[in-house]
Symmetry: C2
Subunit: 511 residues, 2 copies
């Protein structure tokens, strides 16, 4: 099997030159490369080697506590000691105060090395951001430093047995108590609901404070330990048996009068939760990119080594000498590079600030395209390996199983398509996207963007006039992706020479 | 989890009315329905319940012998006792002498119920066909009756570590010996290379009788037991750890001077083997159809029960009330119904005899489309179930894992695409296909077939003029599939009223 290799050159090229981080005043490309290199070395050397054994061993629930696979606690300790959880936290809370773009580097590398561990640790930045935005000064002072040091990990407790995509059905109840609030109810599909990595866990729980549908939902901070130091009334009732991500414990949890404190305003829990979810969604897009990149790496290495068939001169050739295999390898590479560029574009816009409508528009597009890129990349990669790809030995089958969830969680892709078609595209965020593509066309004139834009506008018009736009949602998302990709490939063609391997980038653009 | 339900009504409709079995003199539709109903009941009641436990338990290799999961031996005994292996074997060898179309019914149902067990038992009809065609009378008399009774199961031993898609690299050697031939070498990826279901196993082995590339390959019958009753020198050296099909032992085998007899002419092993492989390929197409149909069944049942979200009037609705979910369910249904129709078309042509060039043309098209239909159907089905789809509990994840191999084995899909583009389409089989589509257009006039045919002809022309047609192979296959599907949906629209649920068929055609 091919050891994990972080695609750090591709990532830096994409961020700096394609997505335009280089143009930001706050961005130090050399420093980013250094940090990225450090994290890549750590991920390759220590995190990735646990990916396969973690998949085989899985998590266990014993006496109400979850055990992670062997070695995970040790590597998490090193991760915390090296200060990785603190990267983007403001300095006043013990963080290193780096911009969010650094996170785009480490998050993708982490997911490629070990998606399961990334999931269990990956909600911290979103939790910090939520507390920074909605918490009181006292809450910030109490909760952020332990998240920064790695002492505490965070969870996001939304889903319930009857409430998946439709959060208005949340029944978990929060009632005022002597010590603040008391939460009672059941949550399911909670990643890292328990684990033995961090000393403490902070649950961000969406619970009902009144019967008023979505408006009756509030967000709570619910630590695993009460203020008096005793264990809070939060129980893990089971961990799910899944197709993949066996090293990420997916917990069913019972809150039985658990002590909690409100964060943000009562009845505005969904808005607060979305701060966390939007962060998680950007991460999920990068997970898709990471899987496509990993599939590309494994398949390319295999195809370059495996001799099979003969060339036009009758001499034996390697797999990558066959037109069909080359087509598949190029396609996987395009999925990874194209998806990454779309993700990075959104990250750079977020960092710039100011065009939040375009960010809103791009977030679901990146989530859908990148997660599909991961699935399609893993599928094609497995096809390149043939029968060997179906074996556990070559690891692509783990990529294939692990990446499948990305199209489902953090909003099923169909939900994102509907949001795009019914809420974002018809209004101002749609205008922002049209303006973005027009600007791209002005910078990189060409019929591909021009035609895509004309068709996209016509479809948007249709959408605005349709009695039920949700029927058009799937097709509209695909068209939006095509339009965005036309821009992205034009940008990549423009800056291909900045890549250490310009010929590869040009070949990808040429398709 | 939803118990397996054989889509017997859809199968009979497709065979009889869409593929035109009803027009064959040798076909007794009522009798076929009766046999199909019996097998469906057996599959639903006895075979399918072993599918999940078989996946969880898997196969074991102990002391050189393979153990199948619990219960598999018992259900195989019942299968043999009820005479299922004998269905299509001529009566003179103890069979029931039914036409090959019956096999299209039972094979799909079997794969839907338990793909693993179907694989281990499914090579018998192909082995019988190969022996009937290439064996001596003596070989027929000795080998066919035990295959018919179920006493013997068959394997197909082609692949070697260095010889996957490129069989010219086969190194396994056959040398004349006192008792016939002696085979020495290694084979990998042999389904059912050993098992504890049948008393005996007959290996059909492709081995080298001279150094002359493909022309140096011959086919051998290599029973697990020597003529003197001792165990033949065939050893299972390992069974593979795979992503799915855990109840199908994929064996690595060592032949160490194994006693064998030549079947057919020396140096013409590949042609003989292709008789078996073509049969296996038709079966693989049905496996894809079976998985798509199973995914459709599970997802439809779930979507009809699960309440989520609200309708335009504000009242809670089930998942299948959402436009996006309906789109996915319809798509899965179309994949299953469309794929089945293409498969059945080829089966009916085979049964008719006479147009072997069209059969040659359709075989790779059916293999590619139906296996992709299985993968896509499983993917969409899982998406409908959301997070629950990713759990082992709802079983779609097994469908997702099991069906993945179908696009790889029996000729990777890319190989079939190349064969179509470089060998079949440019020549007479391409003419046969064009004539078929023209006839379909004459019977069902419409712009969809007309446009598809015009474009297909233009692409074929391009193919014939291209210096290297293999570069165009993937796109050409997709276009051929689209053209064929246009014909198939026109046929289905024409006969929709013959289906027990005509509204469903019409809805599928309307898309």
């Amino acid at each position: 099997m091919k050891p994990f290799q972080a695609p750090i050159e591709d990532i830096l090229f994409s961020l700096n030159h394609v997505a335009g981080a280089n143009g930001l005043a706050t961005w130090d490309a050399e420093f980013a490369a250094e940090i990225g290199g450090h994290f890549a070395a750590f991920a390759e050397g220590e995190i990735a080697p646990l990916d396969e054994p973690g998949d085989l061993q899985g998590c266990r629930l014993e006496n109400g506590r979850v055990s992670m696979p062997d070695g995970f606690a040790e590597v998490y300790r090193a991760y915390a000691e090296q200060g990785w959880p603190s990267l983007t936290v403001p300095e006043e809370y013990g963080g290193q105060g780096m911009g969010g773009l650094i996170h785009a580097i480490t998050s993708e590398v982490f997911s490629g090395a070990n998606h399961s561990l990334q999931m269990v640790t990956g909600l911290v930045p979103g939790a910090v951001r939520t507390i920074l935005r909605f918490g009181t000064d006292d809450q910030k002072a109490r909760y952020i430093p332990p998240l920064t040091s790695g002492e505490t990990l965070a969870t996001m407790c939304l889903t319930e047995p009857g409430a998946g995509s439709d959060l208005s059905r949340v029944r978990c109840k929060a009632e005022p108590s002597k010590k603040g609030w008391s939460i009672t109810g059941e949550k399911i599909f909670i990643s890292g609901g328990d684990q033995d990595l961090s000393e403490r866990i902070l649950h961000l729980v969406l619970a009902r404070t009144s019967d008023d549908g979505i408006k009756g939902l509030s967000l709570f901070l619910c630590p695993c330990t009460r203020t008096d130091g005793s264990r809070n009334s939060v129980t893990i009732t089971r961990i799910e048996e899944k197709m993949g991500l066996h090293a990420s414990p997916t917990c069913q949890m019972a809150f039985d009068g658990a002590e909690a404190e409100l964060i943000g305003e009562e009845g505005k829990g969904l808005a607060a939760m979305f701060t966390m979810m939007n962060h998680a969604r950007a991460d999920v897009a990068l997970q898709g990119v990471a899987h496509a990149a990993r599939a590309c790496d494994i398949a390319s290495a295999y195809a370059a080594e495996r001799t099979q068939g003969r060339g036009p001169d009758g001499a034996p050739i390697t797999l990558d000498g066959h037109a069909d295999v080359r087509r598949m390898l190029t396609e996987i590479d395009r999925l990874a590079v194209g998806g990454r560029a779309i993700s990075h574009l959104a990250f750079v816009l977020m960092e710039q600030g100011g065009n939040s409508e375009l960010v809103d528009f791009l977030t679901p597009v990146a989530k859908v395209f990148c997660t599909e890129a991961g699935m399609r990349g893993a599928e094609l990669g497995m096809q390149v390996l043939g029968g060997y790809g179906y074996l556990k030995e070559y690891r692509l089958e783990q990529t294939y199983r692990d990446c499948r969830i990305t199209a489902i969680y953090e909003g099923a892709n169909g939900i994102h398509e509907r949001v795009l078609a019914t809420r974002l595209a018809p209004g101002h965020p749609g205008d922002a996207f049209a303006a973005f593509v027009e600007a791209e066309l002005a910078s990189h004139p060409g019929t591909r963007i021009e035609n895509a834009l004309t068709e996209w506008k016509a479809s948007r018009q249709q959408l605005q006039e349709a009695p039920d736009a949700s029927i058009l949602a799937h097709g509209f998302m695909q068209q939006t992706i095509d339009t965005l990709l036309a821009c992205v490939w034009a940008r990549i063609a423009w800056v291909a020479d900045e890549h250490p391997n310009p010929a590869r980038m040009k070949r990808l653009c040429d398709r």
